[in-house]
């Protein structure tokens, strides 16, 4: 027995196994990431989703109801991953892959206490968030410089909103495996929140 989810791809409703859903979501995010910067990224994604929904319907046929992980893998193989596009898109893809592996400083909204500044610094330097927090507090008591520094960082640092930014914040290269991990974590968190309600 498996849990299934309901999703909408290209205007069509599908039932999908939970594990297949994770893979599909990570895949679509990786494509989205690949096409950012393209003029009509949303249009390209819409075209791809419509085509994927066609492929899924063809695979399901009349009797099968649920998309499995094998279906997702097969469709991914047909559509190709951003790594496959490198062949045809040599320049843009290569640039994107290398530039996205650099580390950038963000505010971390997931672990924040006030504005996520300390959590962001901690993620950037791979520290325990308690360390920047203690330093900020110490600076506050030693003349109030801490408040000033915190506010400036709060204004200057962007918040890590997208999956790609959250991965960048930790300095991991942005690729499909990392996105998959991070989507999975996000999903688990949402599920836990639901359970707590």
């Amino acid at each position: 027995m498996k849990v299934t989810l309901n999703i909408n791809i290209g205007g069509y409703a599908f039932h999908i196994d939970e594990d297949a859903y994770h893979d599909l979501k990570a895949y679509l995010r990786s494509l989205e990431l690949h096409f950012t910067g393209e003029d009509s990224a949303s249009e390209i994604m819409a075209d791809i989703e419509v085509r994927m929904s066609e492929l899924f319907r063809a695979r399901l046929g009349t009797y099968r109801q649920v998309i499995t992980i094998d279906d997702v893998r097969e469709v991914m193989k047909i559509m190709g991953t951003p790594e496959d596009f490198v062949d045809q898109d040599t320049f843009s893809a290569k640039e994107k892959f290398t530039s996205s592996s650099t580390r950038r400083m963000y505010r971390d909204p997931d672990n924040r206490i006030i504005g996520g500044v300390a959590a962001g610094l901690a993620a950037y330097w791979h520290l325990d968030p308690i360390i920047p927090r203690v330093i900020f507090l110490a600076l506050i008591f030693a003349g109030g410089l801490g408040i000033f520094a915190y506010l400036i960082l709060w204004i200057v640092l962007p918040e890590a909103r997208t999956t790609a930014q959250k991965i960048e914040m930790k300095g991991e290269p942005v690729n499909i495996h990392n996105i998959k991990e991070s989507v999975k974590n996000e999903f688990e968190r949402v599920r836990k929140n639901f359970k707590n309600i």
Binding site: G10, G11, Y12, L31, F35, E38, D39, S40, E43, I44, D47, I48, V50, R51, S53, E54, R57, K77, I78, M79, G80, T81, D84, F85, D87, Q88, D89, T90
Partner: protein
């Protein structure tokens, strides 16, 4: 020198040319274009085609219309625009010149 890179560059230019060639015969649904490009082994994964089509459309070489389909949602049918035809004419000529140049050197 990496021959893969050179090959990819060649294929990329030719791919755009071939999309226009296919569309010059009749308007096509993306999957029809994919099928044809697959048969001649110019394309490996379908995902490469969609950005190219969108780019050519944005450049004014292609336009599209929606057509009802029996199997599902309406499909986008692409066709060449006037400037697309003029562009293709130029590409045809430069292709002929290229082939000739290469053949003369290869002799």
């Amino acid at each position: 020198m990496n021959s893969e890179n050179a090959k990819a560059q060649m294929r990329k230019g030719i791919l755009e040319y071939c999309i226009l060639l296919i569309l010059s015969r009749s308007s096509c649904y993306a999957s029809d274009i994919i099928r044809e490009l697959r048969e001649v082994e110019l394309i490996v994964v379908e995902g490469t085609l969609y950005p190219l089509l969108t780019r050519q459309k944005n450049a004014g070489l292609l336009s599209y219309r929606w057509e009802e389909s029996q199997q599902g949602p309406p499909r986008k049918y692409y066709e060449l625009t006037e400037s697309g035809r003029a562009y293709l004419k130029e590409l045809n000529q430069s292709w002929n010149e290229l082939v000739e140049s290469v053949n003369r050197i290869r002799k």
